[in-house]
């Protein structure tokens, strides 16, 4: 198995993890709406995943940059840019005092990210299969 295949395998695993994190976020948000969890606990639970989430995605993107996978890089850039902006605006963490105001936005954001990671998971899987089959990437 070549390096490319390994790269895509790694990417697929990471995006699957991110996918699970997003599912977890969405479940927690609906718990909050149903009053099963209080906002402080919710925020402490979710906030520990926020930065790992951002970092993992950034690392993936950088890997694609280094290996010159331009198409996948292009696919990931918008989300990276968005994450960086959130981080710079200092809005990446959930704030227990404002969670009810930002909840509709947060839910939408998590859902879009979920779809994004879902798509990228299959994309990377496809990339891996192709790399194994042809021993060269379609995305060169």
């Amino acid at each position: 198995m070549g390096g490319e295949a390994l790269l895509f395998l790694f990417a697929a695993i990471v995006s699957a993890l991110l996918l699970f994190i997003m599912v977890y976020f969405i479940i927690m948000f609906s718990d909050l709406e149903c009053d099963y969890i209080n906002p402080i606990d919710l925020c402490t639970k979710l906030n520990q995943f926020v930065l790992p989430n951002y970092i993992a995605h950034a690392v993936l993107t950088v890997l694609f940059l280094i290996t010159g996978k331009w198409l996948t890089l292009l696919f990931n850039l918008p989300l990276l840019g968005y994450n960086i902006k959130r981080y710079l605006d200092n809005k990446h963490m959930f704030d227990a005092t404002e969670i009810f105001r930002t909840l509709p936005y947060d839910k939408k954001e998590s859902f879009i990210k979920l779809v994004f990671f879902f798509v990228s998971f299959f994309l990377y899987l496809y990339g891996m299969v192709m790399a194994i089959l042809h021993n060269k990437s379609l995305y060169a």
Partner: protein, 940 residues
């Protein structure tokens, strides 16, 4: 202020000839104006005869326009009148504005003429009973402070139940035919009506019953819409924000009835929605079951509501408080308690750095606490208090009852705070009374020689939190300096170059996240933080005020505090005394239940939101007020009315677990006219203010301003779309009950919290916290100050109203320099300060009567008026004392009395309250209306 047209001094030569008349000779009624239809009031007999009614016979002269005969007419713009051009230039309203408010001039009685015609304010159940409003107006200015008074006999109108029924809901249709639009350009706003709050609505199906069931008084709960649109589409069409302004635990004035307390065997609640039984339920099955008015589920009614087994008699349900009063307090049964109820616990955290000692804050605080020890609620001798002081180190005080002398324990490690003697720092007030007194006697002098300018607030708070953690309670912080020492200290980030830029909002947002996290931790442990901030310099109020914001506390701000000034010391000690002695609720949660189909979209106020409908309040502070914004999710076609029920579960001062329940019922309508006709501009303004504060803190100041203005533009636009025919584009029309909305919105934009200009961020942050926290009456006065002319008094003005603690107030005047005369004395009440404005030409006799000094000798600034020695001064003192007392009760704020003279440096400050005039870059009222019209015409 630079753009304010100069107030040309009027040379003495241009005074009307009457000025030379010997004032003593005139026995005319005080303040009467010849030719005014004022004589219907009994003339005010001068008892001492020593004031000159200089204004009495002002003969028409070219310099003076004829005396106004109409309140709605522009008053003679005497200021600047010496140069008629200026006068005319300032005259923004057309001349024929006498026919204001669409009714023609006849319908508007003279300024001082008896009871005034009420505004056409529509309240369901109130139509066709103008006497009600008239009764209110006989004592202008105090309807609000005393809503209960109005409720004691509002049922005059309902003596005839048949009329009644036709007057309630059916009235809406009646009203619909007479929708009167007001063209805003035709008349200045009639500010007299600001105080006339709507009477509580009585839903039609409840008014036939033998005892009246009415909605809670305005001060407890008021809605922006007193008729709820049937569906969201209709609400969106009206563009009126739908929300509730709620103070369920509000302070009760001396003339208001106490909330009835009831202790049924079982607290009856709906099985499905858990709503409490309330007056608006309906009985079914011959009264053996009840139908919940919130979710319409039918529940069993316990037998004790029908048959009293002790007296063996049928129960008269009209005598049971929870079935008749929409504000009621249940004594909670065992299932509502977790462990023993929290005692009253107060931890004083006092800054003893150089600034605090120098300003005399510590000494004043110690003295006040000492004298208030008896007033601290101390039921069953369970109350505990403790003290922590701090500069660059923390000082704890061992107050164990067995000691003879208080012990001071100094901890200098600020990073990892160690609590010495944890059991003896928080002591029982009764047991340790002697040693607490000894300590307080010493505290004033203890740190007298300090040169330490550091202040380790975060460490002191952490310590207080550790001490209180296990039981909860209240932390009272006394801070005179920016917290500049230890972890999480704050920097001086005030930068005047940021003023008026988008970055200004960063100054209004907390600098350090720790303060918010700390507040949340306190909230979890049932600790409330109240902050008293004293400072001459930047203290970062924006950051420190996050502590009370999320714990249900209050901010008290004393800029430039100096205890050697009697006014400062009095203000602080009165407020601290009231703070310690007032009733509070502990360990509270506030749950808001709404009818199905409604959801709570936003909640504003000082608290931590646990769920969309659950507010956590370590203390229910009676000074605080909460606003909710509500969405209509489902069609309400099948509903006749919607309900809001706010329930505050709390521990009262006497250690009882209690539930204060406030239930409000609002009829549903399918008619846009009714939605508009029942909108309440006061509640809209206050809700918008609270929303804008939230916006300022989380987003940008400019966003908040846009939110305020777009609220008004949208409502006007929606009205225009629905009710205005084409060809009226040059007019700006609004339904008459909303005619105050533009002026309130404009006043809000000019409030120190939101206006553009070089405003220090501490001042702005404090203004934001006042708007966010204060109850509706206080907010309204803070938005649109109350201005009174006190050189012309009516017969009764300033005299106590018999059998109440109130005083007859003078009529309110519009906030515009045009409404003021150059020889007048005016009193302005902006809820935080009382300002007495002395014009240069003020009647020297009146000035002398009031201040016992000639005009030139009166110092401007904070003042204490001398003890009155004549009738005029007594009346003015009565008015001032009444305002101060009611502010102290309603918002724990004792306003300073300031004197501002016409040529003072403070002049600009006074003028900045004149919201209808142009101020710096802010528009004048007519300009604002033009701007509104432009916006409305563009967008709609």
């Amino acid at each position: 202020m630079g753009s304010q047209p100069p107030m040309t001094p009027q040379p003495m030569g241009s005074q009307p000839p009457t000025a030379s008349q010997p004032p003593m000779a005139s026995q005319q009624p005080f303040g009467s104006r010849s030719g005014t239809p004022q004589m219907s009031r009994p003339p005010f007999q001068m008892t001492s005869g020593q004031f000159s009614p200089q204004l009495s016979s002002r003969s028409p002269s070219p310099g003076f326009p004829p005396p106004p005969t109409d309140k709605a007419m522009p008053q003679s713009p005497n200021i600047g009148n010496a140069s008629p051009q200026t006068g005319r230039h300032r005259q923004k309203y057309p001349d024929q504005m006498g026919k204001a408010y669409s009714n023609g001039p006849e319908s508007l009685p003279g300024m001082n003429q008896g009871p005034q015609q009420p505004p056409q304010f529509f309240v369901p159940g109130n139509m066709g009973q103008p006497n009600m409003m008239q009764r209110d107006l006989q004592s202008p200015g105090n309807n609000f402070q005393n809503p209960m008074n109005n409720f004691q006999n509002p049922m005059n109108n309902f003596q005839n139940p048949i009329n009644n029924l036709s007057n309630s809901f059916s009235n809406m249709n009646l009203n619909q035919k007479n929708v009167t639009s007001v063209s805003l350009f035709d008349a200045p706003p009639n500010v007299q009506t600001i105080d006339n709050c709507p009477e509580p609505v009585i839903p039609a199906q409840f008014c036939m019953q033998s005892s009246e069931k009415k909605n809670p008084p305005y001060g407890y709960c008021c809605s922006t819409l007193n008729a709820v649109p049937q569906n969201n589409a209709l609400l969106q069409k009206s563009k009126i924000p739908f929300g509730i302004v709620l103070s369920p635990y509000k302070n009760i004035g001396p003339d208001e009835p106490e909330v009835p307390v009831t202790s049924p065997e079982v607290i009856v609640r709906c099985e499905i929605c858990r709503a409490y039984i309330n007056p608006f339920i309906t009985y079914v099955d011959q009264g053996t079951r009840w139908k919940c008015n919130i979710c319409h589920v039918v529940n069993d009614l316990p037998a004790f509501y029908s048959w009293d087994s002790k007296t063996r008699q049928a129960v008269d349900r009209n005598t049971i408080p929870e079935l008749n009063s929409s504000v009621v307090e249940f004594v909670a049964t065992r299932e509502y308690t977790r462990g023993p109820p929290q005692p009253v616990v107060i931890m004083f955290v006092i800054d003893v750095s150089f600034q605090s000692i120098q300003s005399g804050m510590v000494a004043t605080a110690a003295r006040t606490i000492l004298s208030s020890l008896d007033n601290i609620p101390n039921y069953d001798n369970r109350t505990k208090i403790g003290f922590v002081t701090y500069d660059s180190t923390l000082h704890f005080y061992n107050l164990n009852a067995n000691l003879t002398e208080p012990q001071m324990l100094v901890v200098s490690d600020l990073d990892d705070v160690f609590i010495p003697a944890p059991d003896d720092l928080l002591v029982n007030l009764s047991e340790s009374r002697a040693i607490i007194e000894a300590f307080l006697n010493k505290l004033g002098n203890m740190h007298k020689t300090t040169q330490n300018v550091s202040s380790a607030l975060p460490a002191a708070l952490t310590a207080a939190n550790k001490i209180l953690g296990p039981i909860g309670g209240k932390i009272a912080v006394f801070q005179s300096n920016i917290p500049n020492c230890g972890k999480n200290s704050l920097k001086k980030r005030e930068d005047p170059s940021l003023y008026n830029t988008p970055k200004e909002s960063t100054l209004l947002q907390p600098a350090d996240h720790w303060y918010k996290d700390f507040a949340l931790d306190c909230s979890k442990k049932q600790i409330c933080v109240d902050t008293f901030i004293f400072s001459g310099q930047y203290t970062d109020v924006a950051t420190i005020s996050t502590l009370p914001r999320f714990t249900g506390g209050s901010v008290y701000f004393y800029p430039g505090f100096d205890a050697s000034r009697a006014e400062d010391a009095t203000k602080f000690s009165s407020e601290l005394n009231r703070f310690l002695s007032k009733k509070i609720g502990l360990e509270a949660v506030l749950r808001i239940r709404t009818s199905r189909g409604l959801t709570i979209k936003g909640t504003y106020g000082n608290f931590f939101l646990m769920a969309t409908d659950l507010i956590q309040l370590p203390n229910v502070n009676p000074d605080n007020c909460y606003a909710l914004e509500v969405n209509i999710d489902k069609d309400l076609t099948s509903e006749k009315y919607v309900c809001f029920q706010a329930a505050v579960l709390h521990t009262s001062n006497n250690g009882e677990r209690r539930i204060r329940v406030v239930t409000n019922v609002i009829p549903v309508t399918n008619n846009l006219t009714e939605v508009f006709a029942n909108a309440d501009p006061r509640a809209i303004a206050v809700l918008t203010a609270k929303k804008a504060v939230e916006k300022t803190i989380t987003d940008k100041l400019e966003d908040a301003r846009n939110l305020i203005i777009s609220t008004c533009v949208d409502i006007m636009g929606a009205y225009k779309q629905a009710f205005t025919s084409s060809g009226q584009a040059s007019k700006l029309l609004i339904i008459d009950n909303l005619s105050l909305l533009p002026v309130l919105i404009q006043a809000l934009l000019k409030n120190i919290a939101f206006r553009r200009g070089n405003i220090p961020s501490d001042i702005r942050s404090f203004a934001l916290s006042v708007l966010l926290g204060s109850p509706i009456e206080n907010s309204l006065a803070y938005i649109y100050s109350k201005l009174y002319a006190i050189h012309i008094l009516d017969a009764n003005t300033g005299l106590p109203i018999p059998n109440t603690s109130e005083v007859y107030m003078p009529p309110r005047i519009n906030l515009s320099m045009q409404r003021m005369t150059q020889d007048g004395i005016y009193l302005l009440d902006n809820s935080q300060h009382i300002i007495i404005w002395l014009s240069r030409g003020s009647n020297p006799e009146l000035v002398n009567a009031l201040f016992q000094k000639p005009y030139e000798a009166i110092p401007s600034g904070k003042t204490t008026l001398p003890t009155p020695n004549n009738d005029y001064a007594t009346r003015i003192n009565n008015i001032i004392e009444f305002i101060r007392k009611s502010r102290l009760i309603s918002y724990n704020n004792l306003p300073y009395v300031y004197v501002v003279k016409e040529e003072d440096n403070n002049r600009g400050w006074f003028i900045s309250h004149m919201v209808e005039d142009k101020l710096d870059s802010e528009l004048s009222y007519p300009q604002f209306l033009s701007h509104l019209r432009e916006q409305v015409n563009i967008n709609y």
